[in-house]
């Protein structure tokens, strides 16, 4: 029974439902694994062992009684700490919510619990999901399990590092501009950003409401298909969630990709791309062609404007969304002597927010302020349409788009933290997908010379998550990158 933590979510579910392993045995293996590696990785913000064991015991009792078991039964799941969990602290990686205990569950948490999943831990993130390295957390810097001197990516870096290190087989992240896909690529995992509206955002602490989506991170493609099947669907509490039938996404894993046409955007394969990433993409193309697809070069001509557009839109929405943190009803309130209410707000927010959050609120406030609105915010919304039209044009000729997930592999801790703009520019390959509202899946496709994982993303038309899963699974059965484990010293 040792090493249960090495099993995929599907295998764990099978062991549990068949009676080969109890839920208590499963969570004990993952708790032991956390004991071994968490001190080196720093992926977790909250882990309540008693609560984890209590959930496992309740599940064992349920199985004992012969009651029907849900799709996630026996699977421990990590939850990014910007997703509300009733009775469990939810901090968004921020001092301003350091002791916030939500009085309700996010929709996705209710769905996971209804499917008998085990809420195992709350995972670290860049404060309010603002960052690409997990260094902006107010509490700890998560390390990449493949190289402890490097970042795990962000903002869902804690979720990705926890899965890569074997602490959990599955986790939830949120993706506003790449925050699921980029850490998945840096940590050698599968990560999926669903179509905007596919998953309810109710209970996810809002960063940029027209871009945010919750999605799965897993070791293998099947894990993401399983978790997405549970969390997708219409929720009356999120007016932007879309009422469209939710398939069992696992069925897409059995489909054939023969005859599909894929597009590789020229703009995403710039000359500055490191040769290791370029070669990995070339290898993927060969594999996919051998599986019966044809791959052709396409143009996404507005790509060079994607980062600027994204940071105007996201920061503007963030400046509005984060106005709610005023220290009145919940969260931190300054203890300094104040002269009036306005000073209470500004002291509270200065003490509660970290540097990156302040920068984004201020740039967003500037972009929306009188005299600048047209030149920044309105302009960005227009370019946003051009970016979506690029994809619409491409999809007239191809079934899906493939591209590297990130122009770099995991960088060193501290390397970019003092230069915010250089950090933003690493998001060039992920942000357009969010602006256009499309689904995308990142999967591991190799390693650099330094042994760092490389990710490739598959981008589809709205609500074509199944096609992405079919392609990713087809590739994965031919390769074994996803089966490798980091050696954590």
């Amino acid at each position: 029974m040792s090493e249960l933590w090495k099993l995929t979510s599907g295998d764990l579910h099978e062991r549990f439902t068949s009676g080969a392993a109890s839920a208590v045995e499963i969570v004990e293996s993952h708790l032991d694994r956390a004991d071994q590696v968490e001190a080196k990785i720093d992926a977790i913000l909250t882990l309540d062992r008693d609560h984890v064991l209590a959930q496992a015991k309740a599940l064992d009792a349920k199985r004992e009684k012969g009651e029907p078991l849900g799709m996630l039964a026996g699977i421990p799941i990590g939850i990014k700490d910007n997703i509300c969990t009733e009775g469990i602290k939810t901090t968004a990686g921020s001092r301003i919510l350091e002791s916030f205990v939500p009085p309700y569950n996010a929709h996705v948490i209710d769905k996971i619990l209804a499917a008998d999943g085990i809420i195992f831990a709350k995972t670290n993130l860049d404060e309010f999901a603002m960052g690409s390295s997990c260094e902006n957390s107010a509490f700890k810097v998560t390390k990449n399990p493949w190289d402890l001197t490097r970042v795990p990516g962000g903002s869902s870096g804690g979720s990705a590092a926890a899965v890569a290190a074997g602490i959990v087989p599955l986790a939830l992240g949120t993706d506003t501009g790449g925050s699921i896909r980029q850490p998945a690529s840096f940590c050698g995992l599968v990560g999926m950003k669903p179509t905007y509206g596919r998953v309810s955002r109710y209970g996810a602490l809002a960063f940029a409401s027209s871009l945010d989506q919750i999605g799965p991170i897993s070791k293998d493609v099947a894990g993401s298909a399983r978790l997405l099947s549970v969390i997708a669907g219409k929720d009356p509490n999120d007016g932007t969630s879309i009422d469209q039938e939710v398939p069992d996404y696992r069925e897409a894993l059995e489909e054939e990709m023969f005859g599909l046409t894929l597009g590789l955007p020229k703009e995403y394969m710039s000359d500055s791309l490191p040769s290791s990433i370029r070669e990995a993409v070339d290898d993927v193309v060969l594999t996919l062609e051998a599986l019966g697809t044809s791959v052709r070069a396409i143009d996404l001509p507005h790509t060079e404007y994607a980062v600027a557009t994204y940071y105007v839109v996201a920061n503007s929405e963030a400046s509005s969304n984060l106005a709610r943190y005023d220290g009145m009803h919940y969260g931190h309130r300054t203890k300094a002597p104040i002269k009036n209410l306005a000073e209470s707000f500004s002291r509270t927010r200065s003490e509660g927010f970290g540097d990156e959050v302040k920068r984004r609120i201020m740039t967003g406030t500037h972009a929306l302020s009188s005299g600048y609105y047209d030149a920044y915010y309105l302009k960005a919304l227009k370019v946003r349409r051009k970016i979506r039209e690029d994809f619409e044009t491409a999809f007239e000729d191809v079934d899906a788009v493939i591209a590297p997930t990130s122009p770099v592999t995991a960088f060193k801790i501290g390397e970019k933290i003092d230069d915010p703009l250089s950090m933003y520019l690493t998001d060039i390959l992920t942000v357009a997908v969010n602006l256009a509202g499309l689904p995308a899946l990142s999967l591991p496709v190799g390693f650099s010379g330094e042994g760092l994982p490389i990710g490739l993303q598959i981008i589809g038309q709205p609500f074509e998550e199944e096609l992405l899963l079919t392609l990713a699974q087809g590739y994965q059965v031919e390769t074994d990158h996803h089966k490798k484990w980091p050696q954590i010293p």
């Binding site: 205990v101 027209s210 879309i242 009036n340 927010r349 302040k358 920044y376 915010p420 509202g437």
Partner: protein
């Protein structure tokens, strides 16, 4: 970015900045906003702005009675309550606060 512009935007955002922060954020905001000005290169005269990627219509729904959050649960995360613990307590809204009134942040007893 000029010092008074940084101060203005910080005021609008209700964020108090130290002297040192005014310097560093000023330089960083200038480089970020300067990069964003790249969007000005594109002609977008005939383009409709797109605030949402998905064309969702207004989502109407029935508005039945919902059980509201219980009072205790709603107050549980409050930084400060009134002495009886029934209401959120906030700093004085109108006028200045005298020094001995200014000790906010302590939970009410």
């Amino acid at each position: 970015m000029k010092r008074e512009d940084v101060e203005h935007v910080a005021h609008l955002a209700r964020i108090q900045l130290s002297e040192e922060e005014l310097q560093t954020f000023g330089a960083q905001l200038e480089s970020i906003l300067g990069y964003m000005e790249k969007l000005g290169e594109l002609n977008t005269d005939d383009v409709e702005p797109m605030p949402y990627a998905v064309d969702v219509k207004n989502a109407y729904r029935d508005n039945p009675d919902h059980s509201p959050l219980p009072r205790d649960a709603a107050l549980k995360n409050a930084p400060q309550l009134d002495p009886e613990g029934k209401f959120f307590a906030v700093p004085k809204v109108i006028g200045e606060i005298s020094p001995n009134q200014g000790k906010s942040g302590e939970a009410g007893s």
